[in-house]
């Protein structure tokens, strides 16, 4: 008599299926696995529950669920120097043979000699001027290729890995979690859009049109009968500090309900977000893990967190400790 066997088998499969289904649902219901239980994680989840609860007083329709993220120091690392800065310096060195006049330029001399004291004395302006010249003159397509090549072939001095490996796993989870709850997620960075767009979609799930950043002028022209855009040696827009709310207004056209930053350059973006009516989330990532990443705040040249720290404390914004709130920083960690 063979009939009971299939029945037992099918029961077993049914049970297995049910168990798998429960496990899968449970996994989907535990958001932010790289975040330790604690005040930061709870505050994020409570905020999302509040604005997505249709019957609650804090409900926000999906059309208005806009979340903005700084990039350098918030979504990926920024030490010992903004990665885009490292790229642009390499561009300055590569362009030097075409610019004999730079030989007598004090900023160029200091750069080549890696003379930090001289650079500090000169300030950023003459260095930026060199960068803007070195990063112009080509078509936007050629520039895009240069960026992709650089990212594919460069490694971070401390981690000995490609820069695009240095995105923060907990923030990637946060981006996904927000989108799963009907948010539209934007990068709002002091860095240039060109430098982020080639990898932001893969790294963060953020398409090019949701990347807001600084912009160099580009010019339309016909070249050999083909329409091209050429990079001009002029800054069009600096999306940093008070520029960030301007960038958000120009590009997004709505006040975000959630903002994420890590430095004084994000202060005004956080202020504008927090000042809106209804429930808001303002969050600062604090770099306090010298072992797994870097530790810096009030006195750092890069990613200085001073005024925004005071405001966060005064306004009760969430301050995330990378050391204690995150059980994992990078995706490559075991």
């Amino acid at each position: 008599m063979r009939r009971p066997l299939p029945r037992v088998r099918s029961m077993r499969w049914a049970l297995f299926g049910a168990a798998w289904c429960i496990a899968a649902t449970a996994a989907a219901q535990v958001p932010l696995p790289s975040w330790n239980e604690g005040a930061s994680k709870s505050a994020i989840i409570e905020f999302v529950k509040a604005v997505t609860d249709e019957k609650g007083k804090d409900f926000v329709p999906t059309a208005d669920r806009i979340a903005v993220f700084d990039n350098d120091g918030t979504l990926w690392a920024e030490q010992p120097l903004y990665f885009q800065g490292l790229f642009m310096l390499d561009q300055v060195k590569a362009a030097a043979p075409k610019h004999p006049e730079w030989k007598t330029n004090p900023a160029f001399q200091a750069l080549v000699a890696q003379d930090k004291a001289a650079l500090e004395k000169l300030g950023m302006k003459p260095v930026l001027e060199l960068m803007v010249i070195a990063n112009s003159g080509m078509t936007v397509a050629d520039y895009d290729k240069t960026i992709r090549d650089w990212l594919a072939n460069s490694k971070h001095p401390k981690f000995k890995r490609p820069y695009t490996d240095l995105t923060y796993k907990p923030m990637q989870e946060l981006l996904s979690y927000l989108r799963a709850n009907g948010f539209r997620t934007f990068i709002v960075s002091g860095g240039s859009v060109e430098f982020m767009r080639p990898w932001a979609e893969k790294a963060y799930g953020i398409p090019p049109e949701q990347v807001v950043g600084s912009q160099q002028e580009v010019k339309f022209e016909m070249k050999d009968g083909k329409p091209v855009l050429t990079r001009e040696p002029k800054i069009a827009f600096i999306d940093d500090g008070p520029g960030k709310p301007v960038g958000i207004y120009r590009h997004i056209g709505k006040r975000p309900i959630a903002a994420f930053g890590n430095s004084d350059g994000d202060l005004q973006m956080l202020q504008v977000t927090a000042a809106g009516e209804g429930r808001r989330l303002a969050l600062i990532v604090h770099h306090d893990d010298a072992v797994r990443e870097f530790a810096y705040d009030r006195t750092s040249h890069i990613g200085k967190l001073d005024k925004a720290w005071d405001e966060a404390k005064a306004k009760n914004w969430i301050v995330v400790s990378m050391k204690s709130d995150w059980n994992r920083i990078f995706g490559f960690e075991k």
Copy 2:
């Protein structure tokens, strides 16, 4: 014996369900009902089928299905003057009491007297200068309210209806059809983003962040302890003609595969779109229906279609006749 009845009943419901399902599918499969059968409609549908056919040689992944639309004259009417121009002129008149110096300004005098000959002689520059001043100084929130109020209370001189009624039904259907096929749809307009965003989502299904346009400078400042953005009397960016591909690059960061315009101001956007690799769609709306709308092209001051017309003919772009390709122009038509 009652058993056959439920079976018959369930059969009947099943048939009814199947019939409904077929009818619903058929309705969903007849796109663009306001478009007459013909070369324009066929070309659009063939293009969409080609780029969405996963097994075809022209397949484009959804990430790259970007479509850009001019607004004035392409998605809504633009005669006798760009509607935003009418609004800004009203702003100039409203601001006059605060600007006694305008009394001796020739452009202002010509405007008040509606002296078309004098205005023609002066050119647009002095008029624009007045407009920029009249449309600055307030917060962006106050400006937004002024625009909404004006749109709610103004009527088109010919149609005696609110300006927002003058959107083109066939183009609304086209936007929906493209989105239903995985496209992301953007407005790329010479008009300002502020003027379009308040109504574009309802009219076109296009959210504020997908509206690309001209920009006046705005400045972040703290006012009575609150962060606000104030409008500055300076143009930041003109998204017209050669500015359109620049606006697309800055804001979208990808080359569109489909572009829709109606005038020489759209030429460069159409050129850049058409010059990409793979299958592309470039389409021009031709205003040739003086009865239902307006008829104008090569010699019009507003929406001049001259160089773009020649290029469309030379490059075999689609030229839509509003008169013969559209069986309905506005949604309010019976």
